[in-house]
Subunit: 287 residues, 2 copies
């Protein structure tokens, strides 16, 4: 099943200036399914992206955490959970489609020689009654040290008032925004090349200050009818929070036919000129 | 889905002498399926036991962790994993059937008003390169404090040499054998009333000293052809390890038609006379 042996690199791997130690790669449900139309998960797309990720892991073993978007499988469940006003544990329903997505990735990554291990965020993250955060990532760090690939997703998590809520896949990178992983880059691949400054096809916002989101907010449009996570607005809010904690956050287009993801580890100034993106980071030195 | 609201009890709940604070209840795959014959999981049995567990949780909210045996779904996968000599990550294959079992319990417990939350052991437990143990149970404790029921199972875990291995459902209670949970009682319900002293129907061994297993070993018979975990021998070895760490471990028969599980919280001397069991504990004061 898994013939290729990757060399353990782990937290001691060297980096050059502007290069992240850890890449948290979120591949959005929007490129794995059509949330608005067919309601189907595109397992061929997962296979194609799994090939790109396998190539990246071969070059950077132990330095990637994958976060899968939920897409068609998870969003209808998410909407039902949000509509439930009775059951404070309704969000546990997300557990099943979230597992299915993680497992679909794991199977396809293993076929390509990656030591992929799906991990449930519910078991590692939550809030205590005093509002402080439970973040237990010992197994994530252990797997990275062995050159393996943790596969995470949205999941339900326990809140400070003892209910369950959905932790969206855009929020999940919070588990890895901690000193022992840093510097961390969070790249979210989606169906647009960044925050669009106008309608479809318009140029993207190159940089967003996570302490001043007003410039972005007027660019967003309402999508709640078909997307449980508020689409771009929710994504930017979650990424800005990671950026305020020190992560470098990038929104770019996911292309299943792309040749390589290697540039995701390069300093931002070295990204290919034909690859637009929005960077959300603090502080930022334009280069 | 979950109309009944259980009252949070959590770690502050009072106990009387001989009563455990936390009950880790393992319901064996052998009573949920026929490992030798049909190869089918008995979902009606899961439903019946879920009813018993729901009654117990109503009385002792926040003081039970459920561990489901794998049974027919997991054992064939376990045997294939053990036979694999090539892939050090072969054990990840257990993740899927283990999830299916946890989810089957969760759905049936929720129908009965229990705030059941399935948790993946892979994400909470493992070994570091220096051989020390990663045990991260903050979410388990948090859910118990809210009166919820964590639902665990066998899973793959990372080893000190960086491979994955199966952690059997008899080994899983190790996560809860720690001071913050104690005193802990581990009850494993199976298809025999304890360690039999002879053939089928013979009396059971009443007590086993976890530091002297020789007396039990001559009572075991080989079962490896159909059971990935070595049946009773593997179970006793795992429970003896928990007992050496201070837990009170009990093997008893699981009966889906039983009226109540309330006695599982009683001091051992108060268990019903018609309920045989084998107790593995250190020290033991016969009463």
């Amino acid at each position: 099943m898994s013939p290729t042996v990757t060399v353990p690199a782990g937290p001691a791997a060297p980096t050059r200036p502007g290069e992240p130690r850890l890449l948290v790669l979120k591949i959005g449900g929007s490129v794995l399914s059509d949330k608005q139309d067919t309601g189907e998960t595109d397992f061929d797309a997962i296979g194609a992206f799994a090939g790109q990720v396998a190539d990246l892991i071969a070059e950077y073993p132990g330095r990637v955490v994958l976060v899968t978007g939920g897409g068609a499988l998870c969003h209808p469940v998410g909407l039902r959970i949000k509509a439930d006003r009775q059951d404070p544990y309704a969000a546990v329903a997300l557990t099943e489609p979230a597992f299915t997505m993680r497992w679909a990735w794991t199977a396809r990554l293993r076929e390509r020689g990656v030591r992929a291990v799906p991990l449930q965020v519910t078991a590692m993250f939550g809030e205590r009654a005093d509002g402080s955060t439970i973040t237990e990532t010992g197994v994530v760090r252990r797997l990275l040290a062995e050159g393996a690939l943790p596969v995470l997703s949205s999941d339900c998590v326990v809140t400070s008032v003892g209910t369950l809520r959905i932790l969206s896949s855009d929020e999940v990178p919070a588990l890895m925004v901690a000193e022992e992983f840093g510097p961390v880059r969070i790249v979210t691949l989606t169906d647009v090349p960044g925050i669009l400054t106008g309608g479809p096809g318009s140029p993207v916002l190159r940089h967003l200050d996570p302490d001043d989101l007003a410039v972005a907010e007027r660019l967003f449009w309402p999508t709640d009818a078909w997307d449980a996570t508020g689409a771009m607005a929710g994504k930017v809010e979650a990424l800005a929070e990671h950026a305020r904690r020190g992560a470098e956050c990038v929104i770019a287009r996911g292309d299943r036919a792309a040749g390589s993801l290697r540039h995701l580890f390069a300093p931002m100034a070295e990204w290919p000129a034909d690859t637009p993106f929005t960077l959300i980071s603090r502080p930022w030195s334009p280069s």
